[in-house]
Subunit: 370 residues, 2 copies
Amino acid sequence: MTMLDLDREATAVTHIGEEDLPALARGCAVLGTGGGGSVDTGLLLAGRAVRECGEVPLVQLADLEDDAVVVPLSGIGAPTVSHEMVASSDDVLRLRDEVERVMDRPVAAVMSSEIGGSNGVAPVAWAARLGVPLVDADGMGRAFPEVQMVSMYVAGLPVNAVVLSDVVGNVSTLRPIDGLWSERLARALCVASGAHALMADYILLASEARGAVIEGSVSRALGIGRCTVGATDPLASLIAELGARNLISGKIVDIDRRTGGGFVRGSVVLEGVGDDRGRLLRLEIQNENLLALEDGKVLASVPDLITVVDTQTGGAISTESLRYGQRVTVLAWPCDPLWRTPRGLDVAGPKAFGYDIDYVPVEEISGAHA
Amino acid sequence: MTMLDLDREATAVTHIGEEDLPALARGCAVLGTGGGGSVDTGLLLAGRAVRECGEVPLVQLADLEDDAVVVPLSGIGAPTVSHEMVASSDDVLRLRDEVERVMDRPVAAVMSSEIGGSNGVAPVAWAARLGVPLVDADGMGRAFPEVQMVSMYVAGLPVNAVVLSDVVGNVSTLRPIDGLWSERLARALCVASGAHALMADYILLASEARGAVIEGSVSRALGIGRCTVGATDPLASLIAELGARNLISGKIVDIDRRTGGGFVRGSVVLEGVGDDRGRLLRLEIQNENLLALEDGKVLASVPDLITVVDTQTGGAISTESLRYGQRVTVLAWPCDPLWRTPRGLDVAGPKAFGYDIDYVPVEEISGAHA
């Protein structure tokens, strides 16, 4: 039961098949801004699910009836654990059953909570297992490290129920008073279950999702992943596709990276090469790339997107994969306008990460290549 | 809506009023076998609730219709926190709302999960706030430290839902695969909420409760609490009421008590006085008094009840209140037969607490006063 509006279904519905997954993964890696977990895990899950259960319809919010239940899904926990834990295909079925009990109606579609990293790819697997479409939208337009950093929270939707399903078979429903308690309680349960769980957060009706989620995210990830295929200059193609600024092309000359408080934190220094010879750029990191600095001046900051890519191939490099001597290019481009509202900046602006700086949109900062 | 069977209601229903609470608290302290939390907190909560909301009907399971929803309630967390945390009267209302959502029918009655200690007294407050009767039964017939150590688990009832409500306003529903996961997940949430929460575990219908709970617990606690009032020899009255053995009367000469792994553990040594001069008795403790040993010989062990009382007044002394030099008497008496089944001993026998000894019923052990 997909609850598609049949009148609108006359317009062609795109499907995501196995051949689309590598491009989706490449795009999600770029949108992960260094975090969001390695896309390899999501790619394995999605490939197997699509082979076993068939292609997944990719639908727009407008294709869904107003009262269709949309379930935003993500993995929560430590990527180091989810990498090594044998994936279950039952956890999503148990989660669906609990969501339907809580909402008292069938699940109509799955949505990515965050399109960046592995959590952008794995929803294809979850939708395939449930036999429902994937909505072409997500809650971040990128990756962020904490549960409350989603567009539905910024839009002021009430927190209703957070449902977690672990590989052991436990299913839990939280009704937290706000997004910060969502994070605190969900994290505690996830740790008790072995540091990994599947989570549905901000379960909503299609009518509530309009304006409160970031639409077109899956198509955008596919477009980003496809733009470099067969390109003579992959980096130039990627920059054009993203509408990005090239902050620097250089090599990594210093990495200070440590794991603490459940996050990877640190900084990376790049020395320019070619046209950028003589310049030094520093990236500040908390799972994701948060700030790009040159001579103490901010060139780009969260919530705008900052991604490190391989200068030759244009492939994104996640923070844990950065190595001394790599030849890389740092790209930055505007976030979704929702993150630039006062409430959006409260939730995920520089100050939300402890940096005492005012946010300036990346396209208004001079000094980088246009 | 109490769902009382009106035909049976013709028989007089007992009510618990403010004047009954001190006796209930004394009885619950004795049944707490040293643990279960100080009854003072429960007494304050219950007194205020009864003054504000009226007396609480005390009903038997047989008085309830088969499909009446009975909610076993307890506080979970560190007694050191619940002592100092300002009590809320809303948490039980929020919990009731969630239980009714989960069960899809109204709550008919409240039951103590454990009759020992504060958790035996506070349910009077919760029943008063909800305007429902208190069932004359509990899930332990005493106090035990862990969530799965309840009669409903021993009886093999399926774990359905565990509902937690904290003072912040968060409400959570767990559907764990078994009782051990109930403990693990509920404990994690409770810690995340500040180490104290109100918990409904093994929510059941009256028809399911019969044979799976320990009936008459509240009446028994009231009887124990009343037997010493005005008695010329309170200790003798208490021993007669309990059908207990007097293991030793003496004074405390050594206390080794430490807090670790979320529990109070340790041992206490008593030196006999009067008829018991020359004897030494050692108690092993994990929140509750678990073992009484003399010259390496077990005189009584969990799940039988072992309580330390003031030799003069017969008042129970909890493990955290034991002091060097106190004149005390150690009493032991048989647990509910349910705990002596193979599954009962698996769940709460000596081996469940890490003691490599076989359980022998206290009345079959020679060497103590009959």
